[in-house]
C-alpha cells in the first residue's frame, strides 16, 4: 500500500495522465484511476474535487457540463494544451524519483 504523502503527490500526475486519453467526469476519472492502479490510488470526494478545481485554476484542465447518452448532465474534464505541456516534465520528475528510490534500496540491500 502506498503511503498518503506519496499518494497526494502522485495524484495530479494520475489525473493528468488519465485525462490524456480523453475527457472524463469526476466519478469516471476516479474509477479509472482506481482500476488502473489496482486500487492503490483511491479517491474520496475530499481528495478528488479540490484537486480537480486546483488543476482547473492552474488551467491544466478544463471542466464543462455535458449531457451524456442517458440524458444526465455531468461535468467533464479535459486536458488543456497547458496541461499537456505540464505532463511531460511531471512524468520525468516522478520517473527520476522512482529511479533514485530504486538505487537507494539496491544500495541498502547490497
Amino acid at each position: 500500500m502506498i503511503g498518503s504523502g506519496i499518494k497526494r503527490g502522485s495524484a495530479e500526475l494520475a489525473v493528468l495522465s488519465v485525462l490524456q486519453d480523453g475527457p472524463l467526469h469526476g466519478y469516471e476519472l476516479a474509477r479509472r484511476i482506481e482500476r488502473q492502479t489496482n486500487g492503490a490510488l483511491r479517491f474520496t470526494l475530499a481528495a478528488l474535487y479540490p484537486m480537480l478545481y486546483r488543476l482547473e485554476q492552474q488551467r491544466w484542465i478544463r471542466g464543462s457540463w455535458e449531457t451524456g447518452p442517458s440524458g444526465r448532465r455531468r461535468r467533464c474534464y479535459r486536458l488543456t494544451p497547458a496541461g499537456t505541456k505540464k505532463l511531460s516534465p511531471l512524468r520525468r520528475e516522478w520517473a527520476e524519483l522512482f529511479r533514485a528510490l530504486r538505487r537507494l534500496t539496491k544500495a541498502a540491500h547490497a
Binding site: 467526469h25 466519478y27 470526494l45 475530499a46 474535487y49 479540490p50 478545481y53 485554476q57
Partner: protein, 229 residues
C-alpha cells in the same frame, strides 16, 4: 433511492462561494455520489449497503467543504487562517472588550473575588458574563462561515480570554522570581483568583455560546441518515 442532491446541499451549506458556483459544485458532487451508488447496485450490492459505502466517499464533509472553498477561491493556507481564525478572533476580542468597558463605565453589577488592599485583583462582571455567550457564538459563526475547522471555530469563540491567559502566565513566573522587589507584590492566591475570574469563567461562557452555535450549524448541515425521495 437516496436524494443525493439534498444530502450534498445540506452538508455543503457553508461553502464560502457565490450561489451559482455553490449550486454547480453541489450538482457535480451529487452526480458523483449517484454514479457511485448506481454502479454498486449494478455490481449486485443491496440498497442499504450501497448507500452506506457511497456515504464513505465523503466521510468528512467539513474537511471537504474547507478544501473546496480553498481550491475554488484560490486562497492559500495563510489567507484561510486569517479569515477562519484571526479575523473572527479579533472581532470577538474587540466586542468582548467593548462590552466590558461599557459594563464598567455604567458601573453595572460586579462580584469582587479577591482584593490586594483596596485594589480588586479578580472581578466577575455579571453583565459581561451574561453577554459573553453571544460573543462566543459570533466568533464560532464567523469562523464556520469562512470554512474554519472545528479547532478554529472553538479558538475563535474563546479568543477574548487568550490575552488574559497570556498576561497571567507571564505575571506568574515574574511575581515568583521578583516577588520581594515588586512594591505591590501579588500573592499566589490572587493569581489563582485572577485566572478564575479573567480566564476560566469567561472561557466557559464564551464556549457555551460557541459550542451551541457549532452544534446548531453542524446539525443544520449534517444528516443523521440519508434523506429518501
Amino acid at each position: 433511492m437516496p436524494d443525493w442532491q439534498e444530502l450534498v446541499r445540506r452538508h455543503l451549506s457553508g461553502l464560502a462561494l457565490d450561489p451559482a458556483e455553490k449550486d454547480e459544485i453541489r450538482a457535480e458532487l451529487a452526480a458523483h455520489l449517484e454514479d457511485a451508488y448506481e454502479s454498486m447496485l449494478t455490481d449486485g450490492i443491496n440498497n442499504s449497503e450501497a448507500a452506506k459505502r457511497t456515504l464513505c466517499l465523503a466521510d468528512d464533509w467539513q474537511d471537504l467543504q474547507r478544501k473546496i472553498s480553498s481550491a475554488r477561491s484560490g486562497k492559500d493556507a495563510m489567507t484561510n487562517r486569517v479569515t477562519q481564525l484571526w479575523l473572527p478572533g479579533l472581532a470577538t476580542f474587540v466586542l468582548s472588550g467593548g462590552i466590558l468597558a461599557l459594563v464598567q463605565i455604567l458601573r453595572l453589577k460586579a462580584w469582587v473575588l479577591t482584593k490586594n488592599g483596596d485594589l480588586p485583583i479578580a472581578v466577575l462582571d455579571v453583565w459581561w458574563l451574561i453577554l459573553l455567550p453571544l460573543v462566543g457564538a459570533l466568533g464560532a459563526y464567523l469562523s464556520w462561515r469562512a470554512g474554519g475547522s472545528q479547532r478554529a471555530i472553538l479558538l475563535s469563540s474563546v479568543f477574548p480570554v487568550l490575552p488574559f491567559l497570556a498576561s497571567i502566565l507571564v505575571v506568574l513566573p515574574v511575581s515568583l522570581v521578583f516577588d520581594k522587589f515588586i512594591a505591590h507584590n501579588i500573592g499566589p492566591m490572587s493569581l489563582v483568583f485572577a485566572l478564575f475570574g479573567w480566564v476560566f469563567v469567561p472561557a466557559a461562557t464564551l464556549l457555551a455560546g460557541g459550542l451551541t452555535t457549532q452544534l446548531f450549524l453542524s446539525r443544520r448541515s449534517s444528516v443523521d441518515g440519508v434523506a429518501s425521495r
